[in-house]
Symmetry: C2
Subunit: 504 residues, 2 copies
């Protein structure tokens, strides 16, 4: 059975299951020669005949079974972690050992999706005390690959939620140029139009082996690679798959910190984009989250500082892998970029640099960027990762399907909807189509005339451009007006004709 192959699942015929007194999601022990495995039971009436058993790939491997092999099966106990999940369901605290048992079973695919879903839901409902969060972070890090370094490791993480957030591409060379070691692993987009791995892939290869990463970092002090290929805290990836359809994220802290611990980070700056249209709505919420990260970091031996940053509009102008790669590369090579982008990089980079003991870090970070030192360092990193160091921002191909959206009104841009822009960019094909996305011509505070271009949509395929334009019709994207519109929402809403780009 190739499908869902990682789980230790076997399929029994209905009558054999009754004979063994096992029900779906019970466990059986399997013996073939000297090999043993425990598997989750599924039951079929027709697919598997009496006396036959269907094995998923992981069981086939564990038993070295072949078609026709005779396997002895017997009823087995449920794994202990189910009792511990049940304990959390009852609102009780889990011990270090209980958490370790659960994580081991998760990583070895010994728990069904139903059980993992119940665990995550229970964590969402009951929360965790800091002892549990720390145990979970450490278990998740321990049950996966761990990186060893000779240097002190610096790292940066963003809570995310801001489209166009290409911070790492300029921050990593800035920190490396300042003499600190920053082996940055990034994710691909899950729900956004681009993750840093998607962006940087337009400039250089990001799918590096652990050995290659070591070489790049040894040579340049930095890297910008995809974290997925190095198997850090694999439990997290399993949890994310279950959390995604439920839109819950009870693992926010352990998810971030387990990867950082596995990476060996000593100094970590966390960017908490804050405000309307981001995950964290207020500075007070950002403060609470930051305190938790700092406390957790202290328990795990990671020095953490957090910045709450303005997140109510996209960072810079470009949204989508290739457009963002171009904007970031241009900023690094010329030492000039959109002011919000450069200011954010300076703030985060100088925080890390002062954590490393550097004085006047802000001025130095700014100088590294404006003097072109960051750009030269980025070229080294590009070359070390196997890319062309002489790549120019204009050489990064963007979609040839283009469409400008203009304003029907004159006035000022009062607000921009991150959510609407994300939806449009994704409809245009991002992140799958690297050249798809949006280039914003106007941002908050900018003056607009009737007919001015507000933004331009890029796509690689005509039918996706069509989908993007349709998405643009369905959203209120920007608020433009000659005066503040003080009403945010009327409840209940009055019936009114929907006007494109006018009201929130």
């Amino acid at each position: 059975m190739e499908f869902e192959a990682r789980k230790a699942i076997v399929i029994l015929n209905k009558d054999d299951a009754a004979e063994l007194d096992v029900k779906p999601l019970d466990r059986v022990e399997l013996v073939l020669g000297k090999r043993r495995d425990t598997a989750i039971v599924n039951i079929a009436e027709k697919l598997i005949r009496e006396g036959e058993i269907g094995l998923y790939e992981s069981v086939v491997h564990a038993l070295k079974a072949k078609a026709g092999s005779k396997v002895r099966i017997s009823r087995a106990l449920h794994p202990a972690s189910i009792a511990f999940i049940r304990k959390k369901l009852d609102g009780r605290m889990l011990s270090k050992n209980e958490i370790e048992t659960i994580i081991k079973d998760v990583v070895h695919d010994r728990l069904s999706d139903i059980e993992i879903s119940a665990f995550l839901t229970a964590l969402h409902e009951r929360g965790m005390v800091m002892d549990e969060t720390a145990s979970l972070s450490r278990s998740m890090a321990d049950n996966g690959k761990k990186m060893g370094w000779k240097k002190v490791i610096f790292d940066k993480h963003s809570i995310g939620g801001v489209p166009g957030d290409k911070t790492s591409i300029l921050l990593v060379p800035t920190i490396a140029a300042a003499g600190f070691t920053i082996p940055k692993t990034s994710s691909r987009a899950i729900t956004s139009p681009a993750g840093t791995a998607d962006r940087f892939e337009c400039i250089a290869p990001v799918d590096l082996s652990w050995g290659e990463i070591k070489k790049v970092v040894k040579k340049t002090k930095g890297c910008l690679v995809w974290g997925g290929s190095v198997d850090l805290a694999p439990a997290d990836d399993i949890f994310i798959k279950v959390e995604y359809p439920l839109s819950i994220d009870p693992m926010l802290l352990p998810s971030v910190m387990s990867k950082k611990v596995a990476m060996g980070a000593k100094h970590l700056v966390i960017d908490i984009p804050t405000g309307r249209g981001t995950k964290i709505k207020s500075i007070s919420d950002a403060n609470d989250l930051a305190r938790q990260f700092i406390d957790l970091g202290a328990r795990l031996g990671v020095n953490v500082r957090c910045l709450s940053t303005f997140g109510e509009q996209p960072l810079g102008h470009a949204i989508g892998p290739a457009l963002e790669a171009g904007e970031a590369l241009h900023a690094a090579l010329t030492g000039k970029g959109p002011p919000d982008y450069v200011e954010k990089v300076v703030a985060l980079a100088s925080t890390l640099m002062s954590m490393g003991g550097m004085k006047n870090a802000e001025a130095k970070a700014r100088h590294i960027i404006t003097s072109g030192k960051a750009g030269r360092k980025l070229k080294q990193i590009i070359a070390a990762q196997g890319g062309d160091p002489d790549i120019k921002s204009t050489e990064i191909e963007v979609g040839t399907e283009r469409c400008k959206v203009t304003s029907n009104f004159s006035g000022r841009v009062w607000w921009i909807s991150n959510k609407a822009l994300v939806h449009i960019a994704k409809s245009a094909g991002a992140p799958r189509d690297k050249g798809a996305g949006i280039f914003l011509h106007k941002k908050i505070g900018d003056r607009v005339r009737k007919g001015s271009t507000l933004f331009e949509i890029f796509a690689e395929k005509p039918y996706k451009m069509k989908a993007a334009l349709k998405a643009a019709q369905g959203h209120e994207i920007m608020g433009i007006g000659s005066h503040y519109n003080m009403v945010l929402k009327r409840i209940p809403e009055e019936e009114h004709e929907k006007t494109f780009i006018l009201e929130r």
Copy 2:
């Protein structure tokens, strides 16, 4: 794809999924000619090639697809019920319409196991107010078959947990003989050694169609059939499959009442076995549960009364489908049975009879049983259901593998472990092997001599008898002593040699 065939699932190739921007558990809309269906996405890398799609049976049926059919697919929204599950996760109350939406999606297999698991976990964690419980019960009843009757319907339900609880087999003919209509549907065992459907199947067929049930009840005023064949409140069966591995039961009230509403019950007596070794540990807990059933019944138009009954040992002597069928049949035909069994039936039956307006119900119920009227009614029911009305209790075959367990001590039986007996009976093969089980020779309060037979184990297969004896070694089954042992548990436990049948 035959496996897990009921769910509307499709399997996409990884690249096609990326092109559509869908992730596992996202939804896609499928169009084939004029037919449409929405399905849950699973993703495979090898099993399904690019441009191909794997359809589970329900999707095949909905689209009338054949191998090679061309299906148009597009990203679809998540069903609204996911937002409502999320709402419950956040601790908010669900409206009638929201609950109805969830139940419809559950019944039509439009929700993944992960989503159903999250819903049940959220209910377990957050609980429900009575309005929600009532809406849920009604939705579960409405989304399934509903029985219509010309007569006022009487019904009985047990919360369960007591081994050997063969109450219904004597209660149904008693009520029917008293002139009331009681079309009793029962379940098969889930975790116990026998359900009433398993028991009565040793006496007469229980797998009747809806039309057959109508005929039996018209003729005899009663029946004892398996509920699984008439599809009452099918959402409940789906929930039970997910609850089982988690050992949670947030649906206790709606699960019971939805089936009763679908069955058209007007007067319902609920047996709440209470005490050590049952689900409900104290009379105060039983009282709370009873109040909830009565309140819920009032909202649903069902007149409910509850009895908290002594549940700290098996009912009667027999445990296991055939043994219990024999004991129940013998009691009905002779008008004499184990006193605890007869007293319980009299109490429950007379409660129902007085709900039906009968005076002196207890004396009348007792008379119906002792006079043999209940026995004659049971023979009518057996015949009407297609069984042999002249069947004798000794003709019900029990296992030929037999083993007596004797006492090493003299004294009185102070306690009996329901859990241990259930485990032994199941190890012996019950309920799958109908002749397997236990016959208890001694019950609480009985005097025992060294060498007296405490109980006898029955099995159909030698290897299952072996398993049962092994199970008997591993448990403390009965407490026998010349004096009360006042210590229930020492914490922490002292190391001691395990003595068979001595201490709790």
